[in-house]
């Protein structure tokens, strides 16, 4: 008993108090800055990118953070220092096009309706549709004693019947397509769809797989995209807080 009580001290004071202003280690690859004026049109970055995330060349060069898996290969291969990753971690958007960046992202805007309906309590059901377990573990970490997303009233629940929305990870495999749709249908209206990770947003590294069935995303409107491979817990929590207008 006393030993257990002594252990409480091990856990104390590790919570990140100011989630909004917390920063991630400087080595973290987050938002990429692009100095397109230096680009020599050599196409090296495009050739090496494993997910076709680089769009345009020269002046128009931009990165699609819905596809990018933040491997850093483009930065390493570029001899003209065009692409530079920063540790800025707030990578989310309510629009798919909003993830295509030349170095900046528009902040996520909430609506009165979302704020009023979900602002104080937001329960989510997670479905892994072919995810590699990294995105899943980071979503799990959101609720641990460091990040403690629960304090904002945002929680993952066991049943879709208790949920206000669905969080999808993974490229959506053929074998998971039906289970995903069923889970979504079991949630009552109004409901939110959040995609976490490059896989979910665009297929990511698995975009050319023959075993995917992404019909779900054609049928339903996605409300929030959160980038990463995997998405960092601070990225996830901040995106959801912004989305809720908190």
């Amino acid at each position: 008993m006393f030993e257990t009580i002594k252990c409480i001290e091990l856990q104390k004071n590790q919570v990140i108090k100011d989630i909004k202003n917390a920063t991630v280690n400087e080595k973290f690859r987050g938002l990429s800055k692009i100095h397109s004026e230096k680009c020599t049109n050599c196409n090296e970055c495009k050739n090496i990118c494993p997910t076709n995330a680089i769009i345009g060349i020269g002046e128009d060069l931009s990165i699609d953070l819905g596809k990018c898996i933040f491997c850093g290969e483009c930065e390493r291969v570029c001899t003209s220092d065009v692409i530079k990753f920063s540790n800025f971690h707030k990578l989310g958007s309510t629009l798919r096009e909003g993830l295509i960046t030349k170095g900046e992202l528009d902040p996520i805007k909430s609506t009165e309706f979302i704020k009023k309906t979900f602002g104080r309590s937001f329960k989510l059901r997670q479905v892994s549709a072919g995810g590699c377990n990294s995105c899943e573990m980071e979503l799990g970490a959101c609720s641990n004693a460091n990040f403690d997303m629960g304090r904002f009233g945002i929680e993952f629940v066991a049943s879709p019947r208790h949920a206000d929305g669905i969080v999808i990870t993974g490229p959506i495999t053929k074998n998971m397509a039906k289970a995903l749709e069923d889970t979504y249908q079991a949630i009552s209206e109004p409901k939110i769809i959040i995609l976490v990770g490059a896989c979910a947003i665009s297929g990511g590294i698995f975009q050319n797989s023959e075993e995917l069935n992404r019909e779900f995303l054609e049928k339903h409107k996605v409300d929030l995209y959160i980038s990463g491979c995997p998405a960092h817990p601070l990225t996830i929590i901040n995106a959801i807080l912004d989305f809720l207008g908190r």
Binding site: I69, S159, N175
Partner: protein, 472 residues
């Protein structure tokens, strides 16, 4: 007739003996040998079956043999249960039938899956998944229960199937390899890199190889701590799950300090690593490990002295040593049954394999603690050997034609094997992955027999097997 090979050694396809199936079958008695890979590679219009195997315990010897098969072969499963999934996989991929296989069912395909049924009026079915209650990957469990007691558990997988082997064959990349099973990022990337490097005769500088091994052990420590927390969570011992949860954060944040990603994505490249560990980071790793050890020690002591914790873990969901050997379990779960199997032995003859006996949830709980301590020591030794510079230059990857290589890594779960075969042009003909979960899922099913269904979550967590590593 077989060829002895070394881990990560490239051999010519033509040098691999072609024996008769009968002879191979004779050699695969589970009492003598353990199968690492068993798959078919179509070559020149014929189906060549390759089998990589090793001695039973604490061995560093590895052998390969092959034979041609037509539309069917005589199933080996009846004399070596460990082969049951390998044979089913061959049937699923090539429609080559293992005749006499007691349990032919789909491995990853979903259609026409038939679960075992019971006519007994007292027995009811419980279906769990593919979407689970927590934030975990997708898979299906079907229980046949007599009130609270599990008579039988069947695990049906394939939901996470993305066709990774096929993708690796067409467009191999380290980024793809490390995304197949994200909780074993380093192990997958390392195994892929070792195989490709061996095939293209690329030598990795010493420092890079040490950094890779440090990362591998860090991954083991991180996941093991997370699992200790998971087990605590599943028996509603909340303080344990909270403390282990934040302790794991220390480890993965250090990984992020090394390479910018908490899971180590982007660290390993073909021919080395992308990020150095300098003295500053080295010292940080050391002090982090000391802190982690201190906390884990304290928490483990509290849990191990708590009778209500022990009553949930001890004698729960037992796999006997006999069963573990019979079904060919590997890795940490096997070592928890006192089976001495560890792939780190392939590379280092003096490697000490640690085991905890018992085969119950507590053994699988405790083996993690033992291995965390062991990995800490390994890292400390490796850090002392760090010197010089890493090589950031990229070498040209040019795979040797008509070759065969098997790379094996001890991931935190156990023996992870990648076998790569190239054609006459040096393109990849087959990329075959065997995740440790492939061996161990049956272990989970056996552990739960006659157990309480309410114990299933903690038992499942104590194995923590991979869905996407299995489904590929």
């Amino acid at each position: 007739m077989y060829l002895e090979i070394k881990n990560n050694q490239t051999v010519n396809k033509a040098d691999i003996p072609i024996d008769s199936f009968k002879n191979i079958k004779k050699d695969l008695d589970f009492k003598k040998m353990r199968v690492v890979q068993f798959f078919v590679n179509p070559e020149n219009g014929k189906n060549r079956l390759y089998c990589v195997f090793t001695g039973n315990e604490s061995t560093k010897r590895l052998f390969v043999v092959s034979c041609y098969v037509e539309n069917s072969f005589e199933s080996i499963t009846p004399i070596n249960l460990a082969l049951h999934l390998f044979e089913r996989e061959i049937y699923e991929n090539f429609e080559i039938k293992p005749i006499g296989h007691p349990w032919i069912k789909p491995v990853r395909k979903q259609d026409n899956y038939e679960f075992l049924k019971s006519d007994d009026m007292q027995t009811h079915e419980v279906a769990v998944g593919p979407v689970h209650a927590g934030i975990i990957e997708s898979g299906h469990f079907r229980f046949l229960c007599n009130s609270e007691r599990i008579n039988h558990l069947e695990v049906q997988l394939g939901y996470q199937h993305r066709g990774a082997e096929k993708m690796l064959k067409i467009a191999p990349s380290i980024q793809l390899a490390e995304s197949i099973c994200g909780d074993s990022t380093i192990a997958y990337a390392l195994t892929f890199a070792h195989a490709i490097e061996s095939l293209s005769n690329i030598k990795v500088d010493k420092k890079s190889e040490i950094i890779r091994l440090i990362a591998l052990e860090l991954e083991r420590i991180a996941i093991h701590i997370g699992d200790l927390g998971g087990i605590a969570e599943d028996i509603a011992y909340k303080i344990g799950s909270a403390v282990f949860g934040v302790t794991r954060t220390l480890v993965i944040n250090t990984m992020q300090e090394i390479c910018g990603n908490r899971f180590g994505k982007g660290l390993i490249k073909i021919d080395g690593v992308n990020f150095d560990i300098d003295t500053k980071i080295g010292e940080k790793i050391l002090s982090m490990l000391d802190e982690v050890q201190k906390r884990v020690d304290k928490m483990m002591k509290a849990m191990n002295n708590n009778t209500s914790v022990l009553s949930r873990l001890e004698k729960t969901a037992i796999v006997s040593i006999k069963h573990a050997k019979e079904i060919g379990m590997v890795g940490m779960a096997a070592r928890a049954c006192n089976v001495k199997i560890d792939a780190r032995k392939f590379d280092d003859e003096n490697f000490e394999i640690l085991t905890t006996g018992g085969g119950d949830v507590h053994s699988r709980f405790y083996i993690r603690y033992v291995e965390i301590k062991q990995s800490k020591k390994i890292i400390e030794n490796l850090l002392e050997k760090l010197e010089g510079e890493i090589n950031l230059e990229r070498q040209f990857v040019n795979l040797a034609p008509n070759s065969f290589v098997t790379s094996i890594t001890e991931s935190w779960r156990g023996e992870l094997a990648h076998t790569v075969i190239t054609d006459e042009k040096g393109n990849i003909e087959t990329y075959k992955i065997k995740d440790p979960s492939f061996n161990n899922w049956l272990g989970l099913a056996i552990a739960n027999r006659n157990g309480q269904i309410s114990n299933f979550p903690v038992c499942n967590k104590s194995f923590n097997l991979s869905y996407c590593g299995f489904d590929l």
